[in-house]
Subunit: 142 residues, 4 copies
C-alpha cells in the first residue's frame, strides 16, 4: 500500500459482481464511477457540497493496467495536482487488494460552476485553503 | 450534422431519464457507456466479435463541453484514427439533437488480446483491411 | 407485435453491449432501467414532469422469461392498470425483436409526492383525465 | 440492527453519490444492484460460483419505504425463505445507518441452470445442505 502514500484521501471500494461485463472483468466504464466516489469522498472532506457551487467534470481519463475481477476490494487514492482559479485537477490511483498492485490510474479536471446560472465561478478561498492543508499533510508524511 | 461527416460510423443514442445524476444532467460516467455502444457498433461492422480475440480498452478519455439533459437523442460519430500492430485508437464525437452541437469528444485505445490467455495479439489482417476500407469510404465522401 | 396491442405507449429500447453481465446476458437490474425509460415515455405523454409533483416508485417487480443478448432491440409496452387517489399501477411487457417474443413482464406502483415536502399528494385531476384518455384510445382499438 | 437478526448473511453497501438520480435520491433501479451484491455474498458462502451451474434470477421485486440519500451505508440482510428442487426464494431487508430503519425489502426467485445448455437443473445436494446449515445457524440464535 506504499503505492498510495502520496494521496491524502483513500477511498475503499468493494467490487460488485454486477460491475463485470460479458468479458468477465470489471467494465472500464465502472472505473469512472469508482473514481467519482473517491472524488466525492475528497470533496466531502472539504465540505464543498454545502457551498453554492456545483463541481462539474470538464474532462477525465483513465489508463487500465490489469483486469479486475469480482471479488476484490479496491483502494483509490485521490489528490489535487493543480489548483487554478475556478478549476482543479485531480489524480487517482486504483490499487487492488487481490492483485496487490495498481490496476489503473486516472485524472479529472473539475470546474466550479454557480448553482443558479451554471456559469464558471471562482473556487471559494476557504475551499482552496482546505485543499492546500489536505495536500500538505501528505507531503509532510513523505 | 456536418459536424459528424468525418465519421464512418454514427450511432444513435437516446438519453434515458435515469442517465441523469443528482445535478440534473447526464452523469459523466454515462458518456463512456454511450461511447462504448458506438464502438461496439463500429466493431460490429468489422465482424470482430466473432474472432478469437477480445478488444480491451487500454485507456480512454472524454472532454465535456455542455451538459446534456433528458430528453435528448445523441448521435455519436466513431472513427479509427490510428492503426498499430495489436492496437488501434478511436475518436468519438457526441452531437446533441436538442443543442444542435457537439457536446463532448472522446478517445480510446483498444488492444486486441487472445481470448484464451488474455495476452496481447496482432490485429488479424482481414480486420485491418476492413477498418481501412471503412475509413476510406469517408475520405472519399469529403 | 400483436403482443403489445393493449399498451397505449410503446417505447423502443436498444440493448447496449454493456448491459450484459458476466453470464453473457442482459443483467436483470438493467430491465428496471429499461422499464423506467418506458414509464418516463408514458409520463412525458401526460406532461407530468412539469407539475409540482414527483412520481416516486413505491414498489416494482419483474418476471424474466428468456435471456436477452446484445445485439437486440426491445419494444416495451406500458399501460396504467389501476388509478387510485395518489398512486397508480403500471404494467409493462418487454418484447424482443431477435426472439420475436415477450421476454419479461413487470409492474410498478407509482406514488405522487409533493416536490417541497415529499409528502403523498393527490394525482392532479387533469393528469387523471389524460391517463384515462390515453388508456381509452387503446381499448377503442381492440 | 435487531431488524436484521433473522438474516444469516448481512452485506454492507456504501451508497455512492452517483447512485442518486435527478430527484436527488438513490434511484430504485440501484436497489436491485445492491440486492444482487447481497445475494452474491450469500452465494459466495455456499461456494456455488464454482459449480457447473448458473444461478439465474427468474423474478424479483422490491418495496421502497423511505428515500435513501448519499452519504449513507446500508446493511442488507439476505436469507433463503424457500428451497425447491431447482430454485430457491431469497428475501432481503435493507437497513440504513443514517435513518436507523429498514428502508426497503425485496425478494428474488433464483433458478439453477446448466452452464452448457442453459436448461433448468437440480440444486446440487451439498449446496442444499449448506443453505440449510446457514439458515439453521440463525434460527438457533432466535
Amino acid at each position: 500500500m506504499n503505492a498510495l502514500q502520496d494521496y491524502p484521501v483513500i477511498y475503499e471500494q468493494k467490487v460488485a459482481w454486477g460491475d463485470m461485463d460479458a468479458f468477465g472483468h470489471v467494465n472500464n466504464v465502472i472505473y469512472y464511477r469508482y473514481i467519482e466516489s473517491a472524488r466525492l469522498c475528497y470533496l466531502g472532506r472539504l465540505n464543498i457540497l454545502n457551498e453554492d457551487i456545483y463541481t462539474v467534470v470538464a474532462s477525465n481519463q483513465c489508463q487500465y493496467f490489469q483486469p479486475v475481477l469480482y471479488p476484490d476490494c479496491l483502494k483509490i487514492g485521490a489528490r489535487v495536482d493543480e489548483l487554478r482559479n475556478s478549476a482543479f485537477r485531480m489524480h487517482y490511483s486504483i490499487w487492488s487488494e487481490q492483485l496487490k498492485d495498481i490496476v489503473a490510474v486516472g485524472e479529472a479536471v473539475i470546474v466550479c460552476v454557480n448553482k443558479t446560472d451554471m456559469k464558471k465561478t471562482q473556487i471559494p478561498h476557504h475551499i482552496k485553503d482546505k485543499i492546500k492543508a489536505l495536500e500538505k499533510e501528505i507531503h509532510h508524511l513523505i
